[in-house]
């Protein structure tokens, strides 16, 4: 702080600065207890950590239940008697459903079925005309598909 600032402070806050000076004198007497280096970090295990406590309590309860075999803690699997979910509630009407399953099914094929798929062949690139004024195009020859009558007559013969 510049000398001017110091002067302003001294003049304006002399009373407060006197008190702070005495506090500073107290502070100057303080010394670090021992040696700070090398640092010996104190490891503090935080026991009052609620999730840890809850997990430990749960683990202890399970352990005790297993070791001491508390009767109410272990379910009996060989218990004799009606299961609570097996009995229907009172007043429930039961209805028997009968299924009729056909047993006379003839799976033999009655006739021969033929399937024909017409094929389309695309000419190779050698037949393409690149010098066409309208641009690139395929020279595809005319394809004639046989009519349905012709196909059936050929199949019958």
């Amino acid at each position: 702080m510049s000398g001017q600032d110091d002067k302003e402070l001294q003049e304006g806050f002399r009373d407060v600065l006197d008190g702070l000076s005495r506090l500073a004198g107290r502070m100057r007497q303080e010394r670090y207890p021992g040696l700070a280096w090398p640092a010996r970090r104190q490891r503090r295990i935080r026991l009052l950590h609620w999730p840890v406590l809850a997990a430990a309590a749960a683990a202890a309860a399970v352990f005790l239940a297993v070791v001491l075999r508390l009767p109410h803690a272990i379910p009996k699997v060989d218990q004799v008697g009606p299961s609570p979910v097996a009995s229907a509630p009172a007043g429930t009407q039961e209805k028997e459903i009968t299924w009729s399953i056909p047993t006379e099914i003839d799976v033999s094929v009655a006739g021969q079925v033929s399937l024909e798929i017409p094929t389309l062949s695309i000419p190779s690139l050698g037949d393409a005309s690149l010098e066409d004024a309208n641009g690139f195009g395929w020279a595809i020859p005319a394809i004639s598909f046989p009519s349905l009558e012709e196909r059936s007559s050929n199949h019958d013969s």
Partner: protein, 183 residues
């Protein structure tokens, strides 16, 4: 700061080059200053030594980032300020002893000489310092209790020197008002 700044900075230069003994020398030279720094900023006697060790540990780990020729005390004050702020946030201040108003009041009855010292007034003043807004409290502590200059205070607080000056005037004004109200 009463320690020899140039020598400490020179040790820090050597420590950054791998000289561990040099860092031990730095620690021995600054440990009392850092302890007063921690106490002055409101840590109690149980936390203040831990804060000093934590500050030194961080300085040691940060040696790789140390720029040779820099001012070591200012750098260390910056580290210590961060540590002190973390400690204050983590634990409520319960016993700052020297600055604790009750502790100062108790000392008044300890001896006649201290009673003449006006310990009651000091207790009131220490309490008023602790009740200042954080920035003003840090400024007053650094400037007047730890007797640091404006440059070191600004370096420790991570702010401009102008901010320190403005906060100083505001803090002293607040302290005066508080003490007047208390009378």
């Amino acid at each position: 700061m009463t320690l020899e700044r140039a020598r400490v900075s020179e040790w820090m230069d050597r420590a950054s080059s791998g000289d561990r003994e040099a860092f031990s020398s730095v620690a021995a030279a600054v440990q009392d200053e850092l302890y007063r720094f921690a106490l002055g900023h409101g840590l109690n006697r149980a936390d203040a030594p831990d804060a000093v060790q934590e500050s030194l540990l961080r300085a040691f780990r940060g040696l790789g980032g140390w720029k040779k020729g820099a001012d070591a005390p200012a750098w260390l004050y910056g580290i210590a300020m961060n540590v002190v702020r973390e400690f204050r946030r983590r634990r409520a201040r319960d016993d700052a002893l020297e600055l604790d108003p009750d502790a100062l009041r108790d000392r008044k009855t300890a001896s006649a000489s201290q009673a003449e010292d006006g310990a009651d007034d000091l207790a009131a003043l220490a309490g008023a310092v602790q009740r200042l807004p954080p920035r003003q409290r840090e400024v007053v502590t650094c400037r007047f209790l730890l007797e640091m200059n404006v440059r070191d205070t600004a370096a420790a607080m991570g702010c401009e020197e102008g901010t320190v000056k403005a906060a100083t005037f505001a803090a002293l004004g607040n302290l005066r008002e508080t003490l007047k109200d208390g009378q």
